[in-house]
């Protein structure tokens, strides 16, 4: 298939990209008015200043170590993801759900098989899975005081399920995964509606904050991250089970 046409195509692509790169370079180094990308980042001029000081809703909120604040999560990225911009995160969970559902729809239903696992993997799987689930659990419980959170924790927990699938062990059934996902999704939006009933706005953090830096702080954030972690891990594990159970059906048929 390698003919002269593909060489011509490569040269054309390089020429096109070179023109594009020239324009981007010109814009990036232009001495126009306004703030340049290459200027030094001044945090006071940005919306992030309010997030850092935790005075978005209340102007007089004082953010301090060991005291309560408007949102007492020590991890400011978490407080942006799981409190101030929670609409983004909830819709992101819905997008992930839709793509995984679409994956189950488009994938063909025949010719799927999983190879027999080796002895080594089969016997080491419980030990590996225990450690992976421990790390995942630690990450979503500590998402508001250390790096981590619901999404990486869900990915780690679903990779524990993947190890189980590769070893040929039936750790959890596909129906139970769907149930977990449905219950967690319902709970996330029930909490949102509960916030609307109690405090008057959707997805409001209606629990008492506690001290900054404590494990039991940040109000609703650890609860929401736990729900998100289980939902994401159930969704991603569903992808592996699409292969696993399809192969089983094929063997029985």
């Amino acid at each position: 298939m390698k003919n002269d046409k593909s060489l011509l195509l490569n040269i054309l692509a390089i020429a096109f990209l070179a023109v594009l790169a020239y324009f981007i370079y010109t814009v990036a180094t232009d001495d126009g008015v306004g703030v340049k990308l290459t200027d030094d980042n001044v945090i006071e001029n940005r919306v992030a200043y309010r997030y850092l000081n935790k005075n978005v809703l209340d102007e007089n909120s004082k953010y301090d170590w060991g005291t309560t604040a408007e949102d007492s999560a020590a991890n400011i990225v978490t407080s942006v993801v799981a409190d101030y911009r929670l609409f983004d995160t909830s819709l992101e969970v819905i997008v992930l759900f839709i793509t995984v559902m679409g994956f189950g729809l488009v994938i063909p239903r025949e010719d799927r098989k999983i190879k027999e696992s080796t002895e080594l993997l089969y016997h080491w799987t419980p030990i590996i899975m225990t450690f992976m689930l421990l790390v995942g659990g630690y990450m979503f419980i500590n998402g508001h005081i250390s790096p981590g959170g619901g999404f990486p924790a869900g990915a780690i927990m679903s990779s524990a399920v993947l190890v189980g699938v590769l070893a040929g062990k039936q750790t959890i059934s596909h129906t139970n995964l769907k149930r977990i996902e449905a219950i967690m999704g319902t709970l996330i939006f029930s909490l949102a509606i509960l916030g609307f009933v109690l405090k008057g706005s959707f997805f409001v953090n209606f629990l008492e904050g506690g001290k900054v830096g404590d494990l039991f702080s940040a109000g609703l954030i650890p609860i929401l991250y736990t729900l998100v972690a289980f939902k994401v891990s159930a969704e991603i594990s569903g992808i592996y089970f699409e292969f696993y159970e399809g192969g089983e059906e094929h063997e029985h048929a």
């Binding site: 945090i43 953010y63 990225v77 993801v81 992101e92 793509t99 994956f103 488009v106």
Partner: protein, 121 residues
Amino acid sequence: MLSIFLISSTSLIFIGLFGVLTRKNIVKILLSLNIIETGINLLLVAFGYKEGGQVPILTSSDSINQLINMVDPVPQALVLTSIVIGLGTTAFALGLTIRYYKTHGTVCIDTSDEEEVSLNE
């Protein structure tokens, strides 16, 4: 320092664009799309970078005084969203690729010969 991030992320984006424009294997095109995505994520995080800045996480009573020196947390939160959505769309696209392979018998998008054969049948 920001110019290093700019150069590396735009070069990643252009490597990915080159792959999308010239490759004919669907799996390679998807890989190139993921490279573009990585470049854009790096670019977004780099916009919030600050020279000598700190992680936006409080770790002790001292770090509350360093709030002004922290990097911008908003792009990091946005990139967290974008990574998860990239995972979902990549999985969906690979599922479509499997479906394409089942119907056409190839993962190449430049197969006029095979397509003519299947149309004639």
